[in-house]
Assembly symmetry: C2
Homo-oligomer: 289 residues x 2
């Protein structure tokens, strides 16, 4: 998915949001933003939005001299999700089709804005999300593919959300599948890293790898061998969130085995998927030939 | 009201929106946007958002070589509002307090997104808007001030909306007030100009003047003598929309005689007013001493 001019205001909103999270002093924020503005025209206009956004966020990290602007926010979102885990696990175990509920919870984790809602609201919000219909819902195809699969790769998205995903990992393990879960090799926005995987207890369940970089989405030319090999060996890939969709949709790398699980939070992603803004999607990759 | 870093993504959205309205070819849009990005760091960080936005929109007009990117949109919004005028006038004449309904319709014109809704929806939307409560509602003070006033100046905002305002002008004339209505001296976004005032039939009702420039809001150092004199002579000023609020609130120029009538469409303006995003406001100017 290619960038559009409409991505530019969003790059800036992400940068501003990251600086606010990192509590960068106001004057320094102004200087950093000015520098970012000067660098936007130099970005590749044929890249994915995720890639260009990453380059700007890396420049921000460099200039701010803070390793992880979202550290506190990420820890808080993990804590909130962990507190809910026993309830969520019970919901899955009591479901008619536990795999389906685990898939829905995995997208619920992407929707619920952890760190903002009170615990009480959070529980209510999750129950509400579970009743939202998906606009594209290739679950039957995914279930069919999983029946003959041996290796599954989940490409993770945010912190907090990763804890919801652990329930999906448990369901895949119950189907006797070999599961690998990938996180980022370094901080970028509130994306899950190894620390978040550990907070979620994922290493006790399955193999945890990283993409080999700290870019939003997947950037093949910057990906580590371990990630690329996991991608090649997987019989089914479950790719979470918008940035992974932006960078993998239509590609040979994703192939016919990749399913995108996300909420369309951006008008361009929604239009690309042919859905409305805010819609839920579980979509098998359309391979461009 | 001073600019904030959060205004920067909005500047760009306005530029993108204007280019789309003006049907500038995609490649040219990219070049113009790149140039605008390079110029943002040079803006005065103590100016008002309206002023900085205006400077960028003027640069866009220069580069695009198109006089008025919103001409078609403005004509359409005037047509739609004119078609409703008989109904609106009837509503005012039947109201318990016609002045109050005219004030509410003047803000309704600012809310209803003309040119998007069907006529049928538009009528329903207006009736709905008229039932929305104002969060700040200094109508009693305004009515009191009008009782002893002789000259009233209305500082207009958008096309389409100007036609709704003509009903307020009629009500002020019925109170035997001398009314002046100000528009922009040239095109900027969808702000009302003399052409729009003529479409609204305003010159037949009252004196129509222009601000002497084509900046969003009011810029005293670029304002014409006629506008500044009208401002000085007015016993009551009714200032419509966000840009006029941004540039006039708290100033000696606006003084204690100015009332701001607007919907808070931007989080910063809402915070500045102490209201929620989307709230309706009729507020007497708080003079900073």
């Amino acid at each position: 998915m290619q960038v559009s001019l409409e991505c530019v205001p969003c790059y800036l909103r992400q940068v501003l949001n990251a600086m606010q999270h990192g509590e960068i002093p106001a004057e320094e924020q102004g200087k950093i933003l000015d520098q970012i503005l000067l660098e936007i025209p130099q970005l590749d206009k044929t890249a994915t939005p995720a890639l260009n956004s990453s380059l700007l966020l890396h420049r921000l990290q460099e200039m701010a001299g803070v390793g992880d602007l979202f550290q506190e926010a990420k820890e808080k979102s993990n804590e909130q999700a962990l507190a809910l885990l026993p309830l969520l696990r019970e919901m899955v175990s009591e479901a008619d089709w536990p795999l389906e509920l685990a898939v829905k919870l995995a997208v619920a984790g992407n929707i619920v804005d952890l760190g903002i809602l009170q615990d009480y609201d959070l529980e209510a919000s999750i129950r509400q999300v579970l009743h939202e219909p998906f606009t594209i819902y290739h679950l039957p195809a995914l279930a069919q593919d999983l029946r003959t699969a041996r290796k599954v790769l989940i490409i993770g998205d945010n912190s907090g959300e990763i804890i919801f995903d652990s329930l999906l990992v448990e369901q895949l393990l119950a189907l006797d599948l070999e599961v690998t879960y990938s996180v980022k090799a370094g901080p970028i926005l509130n994306d899950a890293t190894r620390e978040d995987a550990e907070a979620a207890g994922l290493p006790r369940l399955c193999r945890v790898i990283d993409t080999g970089n700290n870019f939003l989405g997947v950037v093949p030319e910057r990906s580590g061998q371990e990630f690329l090999q996991a991608m090649a060996e997987a019989d089914v890939v479950i790719s979470k969130g918008q940035a992974n969709y932006e960078s993998l949709e239509g590609t040979e790398l994703a192939g016919e085995k990749t399913y995108f699980l996300l909420k369309a939070k951006c008008p361009l992603v929604a239009a690309h998927l042919g859905v409305e803004l805010g819609d839920l999607v579980l979509k098998k990759n359309d391979l461009r030939r």
